[in-house]
Amino acid sequence: MALLDKKNNHGTSAGTSLLEPEDIARLETFEFAPRMVAEGLYAGRHRSLTRGSSTEFRDYREYSPGDEIGLLDWRAYARSDRFYIRTFEQETSLDCTIFLDSSASMGFGEKVSKLRYGSFLAAALSYLVVRRGDRISLHLFDEQLRHSLPHGSTRRHLNHIFTRLERNEAGEATHTAAALNRALPAMRHRGAMLVISDFLDDPVSLFEALDPYNHRGFRIYLCHILDPEELDLPRRGMLTFEDLESRVRVRAHTEELRKAYRDAVSQHVEVIRQLARRRKIEYIPARTDASIHAILNALNQT
């Protein structure tokens, strides 16, 4: 990772170290544009449920007093002898929300911590959203919602996000469901939502917390970040494992447990994947030793 501590080509000045210029250069080729019906406040590039003033014809509506006279379709009047008004699609901006797990377990990582990796992903994604003119919001949580940045689409807002991410550190135990439930009332407009976490939590309660978002029409992405050593125990013989969250210690021989552990983690991942698929939620697994651009590609293709 590199710093982004000077004004870049786009005039972005950030006192953060998450994005290097070369990283930004590479991000230029990416775009985060979920195919969904947005509900933004400002005119933008995303199709809206409301009728607006774009150039894209939607349908005819019978004239009612108070309608603008200029919208009358005289040709339709000539054919039917009745007054019709032509309506057009409203294009609005997209509200994108990022939930970044900042629990203690996210602090685990052999070369780079999962939290660092997730922060970089959040930063990159924020950059892509703001560059497109959409609004981005960031929520940091562990067992509760620790920090929330509202939606914004300015460079300044982006810098705030970067700064928050840089200062963020691994906290306490994970409780994703509690954080999601806590943030739900503040989410007024539907949009895209990205949850970045290791999901070492109860999958059932997680998806129960996601269900209200899903019902409201949010486009939800789950980015499951795991360290290679979490997927496959290191071959280090007898070890005392200490849980980063509960501080519980377990003594075990990695060779004896390796296969069973791998199976257990695979099973856990598969459970989350299955639950996500049933709810039409996008699930994107990520290893910290893999390039972040692969995740961005996956996001782009959904």
Binding site: S105, M106, F108, K114, D198, L200, D227, E230, P234, R236, G237, M238, L239, T240, F241, E242, D243, L244, E245, S246, V248, R249, V250, R251, A252, E256, L257, K259, A260, Y261, D263, A264, V265, Q267, H268
Partner: protein
């Protein structure tokens, strides 16, 4: 049973067996710490693994301790000893009893049991060392020791065993054991080794007190229920046949094995050669019968079956004495009585009447039945005749006096009254009970016994009814016909006058003849078959006079058997040496046959069932060994290091198997649980 170690110096190393336990208890691993994102999965896996691992660890611990102990044992070279005296350095006193009875001739596995016994005995002798003393006792009818007392000449004992042969005698285990115990008295720690098939008929309930200083080892050579068929128990019906009379010869075919078998039984008796096939179930006996007609004189009967594993009991011999006709003596002073009885006797072709005129000083031996009406001579003559197998038929005969005395052998004299019917005559009626004498008259085909009328009879005291079996009575209850059986003879009370002046019995010839014939037939007792002897017996011939130096006994192979002549008060007695083989042994005087003695194997030797090993142990022995056991370890002990090596290998293999199996199971459980 004792276990000793050749290298006991290694035994302290057995303490190493505690090593795995100590390691398990005190070894505390301090593995490096790894801060991990979540141990939730690890805890779940470990929880399921513990269910398998704990018993597995315990099993592995036991196996590892066992492996160390076995390894140390391997170096210590353990030996299992059996039947060893307290101090192996002491000289041994050993008596070997080798069963040489007939059953040891049973062919078991291609060789006789005796051959195996001799080899085992030689093996025991081979284990002895210089200074040890031993003896061999042959277990037979009269047990016999090779040395009069314990000796050190082992080569001679081994040679005796090598040259020994089974007899056809019945063994006497009790006497053999007593002989061995007597021989070892005062020898301190001593041993008796009994090598036998432990036949149940011979060894059942043997009671010989064995001193505590004597250790008995039994070496059993036979399995239970060895297959064997035998022919035994020859008999004839009638038991005293006459020449020309159809005689039924019966023998029993016994199957001592567990499975049914079929045998062909051959009869050879003079001109009679017959055969019959018989199937006998396992453990069963089937009689086989042949109908023959024998000439007068001595008839040799041979019954045989096909040869099997034990050939000695496949042939049965017997000598049947057949008389040409039955000589009946008539002793009466009344001519009418004599004439009447002569006519009755002459009506039977197989009877011959002989009238004895008083005074009688002797009764000839060839008179089988004596008919007498009164006897005024020496009563001891009658008693002697009855004792020597002759039967007596007493009838009242013509009345010459109003009263008289009836004196019968071995009975006090009783007074009798002569009676004459005043009015209606007396008639006969059968007494209670079914007498075989009256069987012929049950259908009425052979006459009616109630038809004859009697006007004279003797009034017998009522006390006689308890001393004889009443066959017929008169209609007023007076005994008419009674019979009293003795050992080989009978005394018949014939209170039915046959002369014409005493009634109409003579006029009813059919009833008279049939009743007399049946009475004679049933009053003849004894056996026509000559008494048999068994191998090991001495045959004895007694003569009141004569030059017995010319007496020779021939074996079935016509070899002479030495005979000792002894003069006794009664005359001269010839006693042979012990007969060895079954078959016909013939006494000859001056080259002429005098008497034939059939010698047969003891039927109990045919029963090959053996007593249980537990019974042997309870009754007799400290240790019981089998036919195939190696006897050298009685002294040398059995080396256990190969067993320990195998056990060690198996332990290591078991440890590996446990590791592999529990590893797989563990993985499978984890997969199921996750």
């Amino acid at each position: 049973m004792i276990i000793r170690f050749v290298n006991p110096v290694f035994l302290p190393w057995l303490a190493l067996g505690a090593l795995p336990v100590l390691i398990h208890l005190f070894a505390k691993a301090r593995p490096p710490l790894l801060r991990f994102s979540s141990v939730r999965f690890l805890q779940r896996i470990l929880k399921t693994q513990d269910k398998v691992k704990r018993p597995r660890d315990l099993l592995l611990l036991i196996l590892r301790v066992l492996a160390i102990l076995l390894l140390v044992c391997l170096f210590a070279r353990p030996k299992m000893l059996k039947g060893v005296p307290a101090d192996p350095a002491d000289p041994r006193q050993l008596v070997i009893i080798v069963d040489a009875s007939a059953s040891m001739g049973y062919v078991d596995g291609g060789q006789t049991r005796f051959a195996v016994a001799a080899a085992k005995g030689a093996g025991l002798l081979a284990n002895l060392r210089g200074g040890d003393r031993a003896n061999v006792i042959w277990l037979k009818r009269d047990p016999e020791a090779v040395f009069p007392e314990l000796g050190v000449n082992m080569p001679h004992l081994r040679q005796a065993l090598r040259k020994g042969a089974p007899t056809l005698e019945r063994g006497d285990p009790e006497r053999a054991l007593k002989m061995a115990v007597t021989m070892l008295e005062g020898c301190g720690e001593a041993e008796i080794a009994v090598i036998s098939d432990f036949q149940r008929t011979a060894w059942h309930a043997i009671q010989v007190p064995i001193p505590e200083t004597i250790r008995v080892t039994a070496i059993s050579l036979a399995a239970n229920a060895a297959p064997n068929m035998s022919v035994q128990r020859l008999r004839t019906t009638p038991s005293l046949p006459l020449a020309g009379q159809t005689t039924r010869v019966t023998c029993d075919v016994a199957n001592w094995g567990g499975n049914a078998r079929t045998a062909q039984v051959l009869l050879s008796a003079g001109e009679n050669h017959q055969k019959q096939e018989v199937s006998v179930a396992g453990g069963d006996i089937q009689p086989v019968q042949f109908d023959c007609v024998f000439p007068a004189g001595e008839n040799r009967i041979v019954m045989s079956i096909g040869e099997d594993e034990f050939a000695a009991d496949n042939q049965l011999v017997g000598v049947l004495q057949v008389t040409p006709s039955l000589r009946v003596g008539i002793l009466s002073g009344d001519a009418r009585v004599v004439d009447a009885w002569r006519r009755v006797i002459n009506a039977f072709p197989w009877m011959q009447a002989s009238v004895l005129s008083p005074p009688v000083t002797a009764i000839p031996d060839d008179i089988a039945i004596l008919i007498a009406d009164r006897w005024e001579g020496d009563h001891s003559l009658l008693a002697q005749r009855v004792d020597s197998g002759g039967s007596l038929l007493w009838c009242p005969g013509a009345v010459s006096a109003e009263s008289g005395q009836l004196i019968l052998p071995a009975a006090p004299a009783v007074d009798i009254q002569w009676q004459r019917a005043d009015g209606s005559p007396w008639r006969l009626s059968p007494a209670a009970g079914d007498s075989p004498i009256l069987t012929l008259f049950q259908t009425g085909q052979y006459g009616d016994l109630s038809a004859p009328a009697f006007i004279q009879r003797a009034q017998l005291p009522s006390s006689w009814k308890t001393r004889v079996s009443t066959i017929l009575t008169y209609d007023d209850g007076v005994m008419a016909l009674g019979i009293s059986h003795r050992n080989s003879s009978s005394v018949v009370i014939w209170n039915m006058p046959v002369e014409e002046t005493s009634g109409s019995f003579a006029m009813h010839g059919e009833e008279l003849l049939q009743l007399f014939g049946e009475t004679v037939r049933h009053c003849r007792r004894g056996q026509g078959l000559q008494r048999t002897e068994t191998p090991g017996a001495r045959l004895i011939l007694r003569r009141q006079s004569g030059e017995l130096s010319k007496m020779v006994l021939r074996t079935p192979r016509m070899d002479p058997l030495p005979v000792a002549i002894r003069a006794t008060a009664d005359g001269v007695t010839a006693i042979s040496e012990r007969v060895k083989t079954p078959g016909f042994h013939e006494w000859r005087f001056d080259g002429n046959p005098v008497e034939t003695v059939p010698v047969i194997i003891d039927p109990l030797e045919s029963d090959m069932r053996v007593i249980e090993k537990t019974d042997i142990k309870t009754m007799l022995a400290d240790s019981v060994m089998g036919r195939g056991d190696d006897l050298s370890w009685l002294r040398e002990g059995r080396s256990l290091w190969p067993t320990a090596l195998v056990a060690l290998a198996l332990t290591i293999l078991a440890e590996g198997t446990v590791l592999v199996l529990t590893g797989r199971k563990n993985i499978r459980n984890n997969r199921d649980n996750v």
